[in-house]
């Protein structure tokens, strides 16, 4: 009711100690399509669902290469994702130039976290409206980080961001051991695609046009699979459509999902307004 008094800029705290502009920025991530990241002992994989605004339009890129050993998947405002990934590229090149050393993934992700944090404490600026999954391989092995516009950064074995990403997280939680023990890149990618498939809306299925995959790891420099190159991975999947679409037991599915979301109260409104995968009129596009 009084919420509006405290959400005009990012320098105003609410009486309960919240910064609403930052929370709104976190909402922008949930409007974007899902991206999933996961790691084995040797590799890190990112998979993302690409969106097109209309039938005749192209699909917006989800995965951006930063350096030979690092890349990001984004959900939210794509321009903000570009700004941050360009900054990461600069950091990576400067590490190569100044120290002849690939930029450590932790250092990369903390450097953009610092940038994002500054935008939450100065008047006249706005927080970034994008969430990133940063995957990389450095001398301490494979890494997957989630970056949020609040400036918070967490490392994961596997996680997902974007619309209906809770379903992917649930899949990853259930199959964590088999994901971590993946012997081959193929197994890891298939786990990623299985997780991504669970985020699909009704009547949508994974195609080589709307799916992209990237891998980085031991003796593997960051590689993105898109378009025609994507099909090889989809061919290995038992089905490309959402399990909810295949089962007639819709009620059962909704019940389990409801439970899973119950454990994450923060994501309650994540799925709202996203039922048909179409953007509302007048809303800023997110990918």
């Amino acid at each position: 009711m009084f919420r509006n008094n405290y959400d005009n800029d990012s320098v105003t705290y609410s009486p309960t100690g919240r910064i609403f502009q930052v929370e709104y920025a976190l909402e922008a991530i949930k409007q974007g399509s899902a991206a999933v990241g996961l790691t084995s002992k040797t590799h890190a994989v990112l998979v993302g669902l690409k969106r097109n605004t209309e039938e005749l339009g192209s699909y917006q890129k989800k995965i951006i290469k930063v350096d030979d050993h690092m890349g990001v998947a984004l959900a939210g405002l794509a321009p903000d994702g570009r700004v941050l990934s360009n900054f990461l590229r600069k950091q990576a090149m400067s590490s190569k130039m100044m120290f002849n050393r690939p930029l450590p993934v932790s250092k990369a992700v903390y450097s953009i976290a610092d940038k994002a944090q500054e935008n939450t404490q100065s008047y006249g600026s706005r927080p970034y409206g994008v969430g990133l999954l940063v995957a990389g391989y450095d001398e301490t092995g494979p890494h997957l980080y989630e970056f949020q516009p609040s400036g918070s950064v967490l490392e994961y074995y596997g996680t997902a961001i974007g619309a209906r990403s809770q379903a992917a997280r649930t899949y990853l939680e259930r199959s964590l051991e088999s994901v971590r023990d993946s012997e081959t890149v193929e197994q890891l990618i298939l786990h990623g695609l299985n997780a991504l498939r669970d985020t699909l809306a009704q009547d949508v299925e994974l195609t080589f046009k709307n799916t992209s995959v990237s891998v980085v790891g031991k003796d593997t420099s960051f590689t993105i699979y898109e378009d025609e190159n994507m099909q090889q991975w989809l061919d290995k999947l038992d089905s490309v459509s959402n399990s909810r679409n295949r089962d007639d037991q819709d009620d059962d599915q909704d019940a389990t999902e409801g439970n899973a979301e119950g454990t994450h109260p923060a994501s309650q409104d994540a799925n709202q307004g996203e039922g048909n995968g179409q953007n509302d009129e007048g809303r800023m596009d997110t990918d």
Partner: protein, 275 residues
């Protein structure tokens, strides 16, 4: 020309007019004073003032050894006798610096900042800033400064271990010139110590045949030869030994032992003098 002892050698004002400070782009009119310093065009290091002499280093079987004496000379005056010219960066890298001491102190601060940033962004400690990275950084700094016509007046030796844990030894100087070798010395050392060290390690790839004891003996001997023949050196020096997977050993206040001066009493005059 002025013959006034305080203005000796300058053109006379009554003949040539007063010196125009505007020639150099200075904004100050008339005789400048010390407080006008910031009104002058920027003045770069054009010569070293307080200087440190040679730094020596040599690789051996599973490490590197480095030495540098503790003098800061003001011209021919041995003004400071307690200057530490070997800087530790992280736990397996050392940087030995000769040349201008004020520029050395600036580099010391750069390296300290580098180490702080490394600690801040590497909370889990998995990423080590190794010797090759420190050397690359210093090379960039040195070349950048000389390209601005404002060099850091130093010659630097970086010792440590590379990514594969092999001994690393590399040089960079005020021009940004860099090279690696199994035996490196700066300044006077490059004339007097390198030939002796190359007896120990004739070819670059020979260092795995050299024992730590032999390397140390050679370095200590070189420091003694330099003390004999370099007028800006001292017999007190620091000696750092880096060994694979072991904490580095930093010895301070090492003395040049076993000098031979006995023969001096038999030398008499400059030619014909007999007694």
């Amino acid at each position: 020309m002025e013959h006034d002892p305080f203005k000796w050698g300058k053109p006379r004002n009554d003949v040539y007019g007063p010196y125009s400070y505007e020639i150099a782009g200075a904004k100050v009119k008339g005789e400048p004073s010390a407080s006008d310093i910031e009104k002058f065009p920027s003045m770069h290091t054009q010569q070293p003032i307080i200087t440190g002499t040679s730094v020596l280093a040599v690789k051996f079987k599973d490490g590197v050894i480095m030495a540098a004496d503790n003098v800061g000379a003001y011209g021919s005056l041995l003004r400071f006798s307690n200057i530490e010219r070997i800087i530790q960066v992280g736990d397996q890298t050392v940087v030995g610096i000769s040349g201008d001491i004020s520029d050395m102190q600036y580099i010391e601060r750069l390296l300290e900042e580098l180490e702080t940033e490394e600690d801040v962004y590497d909370s889990d400690g998995g990423h080590k800033l190794r010797a090759p990275h420190v050397h690359e950084y210093l090379s960039q700094v040195m070349y950048n400064r000389r390209s601005k016509m404002n060099p850091l007046w130093n010659a630097i030796v970086v010792a440590g271990f590379d990514d594969t844990n092999e001994p690393f030894l590399r040089y960079v100087d005020l021009f940004g010139v860099a090279y690696g070798s199994s035996a490196i010395a700066t300044g006077f050392g490059s004339y007097l110590a390198v030939p002796l060290l190359r007896n120990l390690v004739p070819y670059d790839a020979d260092y795995p045949k050299v024992s730590e004891e032999d390397a140390r003996e050679a370095i200590v001997n070189c420091m003694k030869v330099l003390y004999y023949r370099d007028a800006r050196s001292s017999d007190k020096f620091s000696l750092v030994t880096l060994k694979k997977d072991q904490p580095l050993v930093f010895e301070k206040n090492v003395k040049c032992e076993g000098q031979s001066w006995q023969f001096a009493k038999n030398i008499c005059g400059y030619g014909s003098k007999q007694l």
